[in-house]
Structures are given as C-alpha cells and as structure tokens.
Symmetry: C2
Subunit: 179 residues, 2 copies
Amino acid sequence: MIIVLRLDHRIPRDERASTHVALTARAFGASGVVYSGQKDGSLEESVARVVTEWGGDFFIRHTKSPLSEVKDCREKGYRIIHLTMYGVPADPALTAVKETENALIVVGGSQVPIEFYRAADLNVSVTNQPHSEIAALAIAIDRIRRGKEMSAQETEFSGWKIRALGTERGKKTERRPKE
Amino acid sequence: MIIVLRLDHRIPRDERASTHVALTARAFGASGVVYSGQKDGSLEESVARVVTEWGGDFFIRHTKSPLSEVKDCREKGYRIIHLTMYGVPADPALTAVKETENALIVVGGSQVPIEFYRAADLNVSVTNQPHSEIAALAIAIDRIRRGKEMSAQETEFSGWKIRALGTERGKKTERRPKE
C-alpha cells in the first residue's frame, strides 16, 4: 500500500499541480493522497470525479497536521520516503523498498521544513536537478512497483464506468452498460 | 537527442504545467522544448534562469506551427512519439526506440488534433488512465534512456553555477567559484 502526502497546497497556485500529483498517484497504483496547506473542495471534487468515472478506491483527504500523518504512518510500520532534489539517488535507494511494503511518499512544495527530512527513512532524489514533484512521484512509484503500474492487469480500477482501450491511432474508449 | 514538443500552451492556465514539462525534459536529459499555443516570455525566462544556474545547453522556443515541427523532425529521421492515454503501452513500445535514436516526444493538452495521432510513429500511453503529461513525459524519457537520467555521470550539465549534492538528510549544494 502506497499513500502520498502532498505538503503545503496553496490556492490558486497549486491547484493543477496538486491535481496532477493526485491523479498520478492514482494511475500508478497508490491508494490515496493526504494533503496539507489550504483545504480545497474543488481539488477533492476533481479527483473524486475521476475516481467515479474511471474506477478504483482512491481517496483524497485534507490534514491540518502533516507531521502527525508521518508519525502515524511510521507507527503503523510504513516506510517514509521523502522526495527531494537534495536526497540520495532513487536508483538504487528505492530498490531497497520491498514491493509489498507499505510506504508513505512525501512530496513538498518549494520550502519543506527540516522536520520532514528528519522524519523520513529515505530522502530520495529523482535526479539532483530542479524539475517537478509530479515527475519525481511517477518515477518513485514506478521504481517501488517495479514498473507494474504499466500493466493494466496489475493495476485494477474496479467499478469503472469508462476506460481507455490502448490503440495505435486515435481514441478508443469503452463505457460499461448501466446495470 | 530528444526534443519535446508541448502543444497548445495557454496563459495563465498552463504556466506551471509547461514549466514542469520543460524542467522535467531538461533534468531527464532532453535537449530542448518547442511549444505551441500562446507565446510566453515568462515561461521562457523561468526555464532560461534554471539553465543559467544549473547548467547544460537546454533550449526552449515557441512555434506557430507544431505540425510543421513534426514534419521537419520526421524528415530529419527523428522518431515521432506522441504521449496519450489512448495509446499502446509504453512498456514495451518504448524499448523499440534505440537509446541512440533521435526522438521527438509530443505532449498535448486535453484536445490534441487527430493529425498528431496520424503523424506519430508511436502513440504511446503511460497507463491508460487520466493523469499528467508531466508524469508521462518522465516515464517516457526514463524508458528511452533506460534510466540513465538517474545517474549524474550520464547526464551532465556543463557550465553549472550551482549543483545539489545528494545527501541522506538536509540540503547540500555546491556553488562554483567565479573564474
């Protein structure tokens, strides 16, 4: 089980980036996103709409105390993985994480308090260059799941109403008939 | 050589997403980004600032005719790879792309004209779920480069003024002394 903790969401600045974080987490097989910063009903609705249409049990919820979330997860035995451009290389650090292990992946904004660096089991970088927490999250889950997110068979989205059928050219979708 | 073509940039909606696309392209070892839609001096400056500080030869430029860019690249022998959630799975489609090959990776907005599906050699999906063009781009380059973007030795950023030194906890940077 993988949960993503998105720090310091700000309206309107982070609206799209946080949506991308959440949808990437879902598409790659995480169970849910907890976010701190400003509570954002519109972000939660966007994600809920995708879950209703495309399936799965993905959750999103706000927290006032992200550090407590880290501590709670730690007590439950989760591995705490903080993504930062200042960390140790994701290859090979993330191959030390077992695929079956529970993990909390922390993704920040520009200024992550030092407490999160301290609370993490792993401060991991996806390249040591400035880029995108969305890109970093995708690669991190890809490495932990050993690429299994790429196989539709491995990542099921139960209860989907619509799904895309991979095709060489154009767009094919299937809509499940109403029961 | 990998070039990224970002379609239909809109101000202000895509300002951050396009910045993330460009910085991800750079961090993962692409040579530059060409973008269509609205010309955005602020986007170009943000990317140029990162290049000045963190090094490398990465370019960004605007185009009025993205389809001509595709055709030009095709004539030069580039493989045209369009990322879409409706395409064939990136694993294994992108392993057919040789690491040494020139590639143009096309990433779109919500409505990509059918011409781009037709013009592409490969319409590739990074999962068939809705998520993020930034995440998809990261995985696509990762697969084409066989993960080499993760090795600082493999992806050099010549002329850097500052660089991050991967460390287990906290932030370490090195600033190159002025000559």
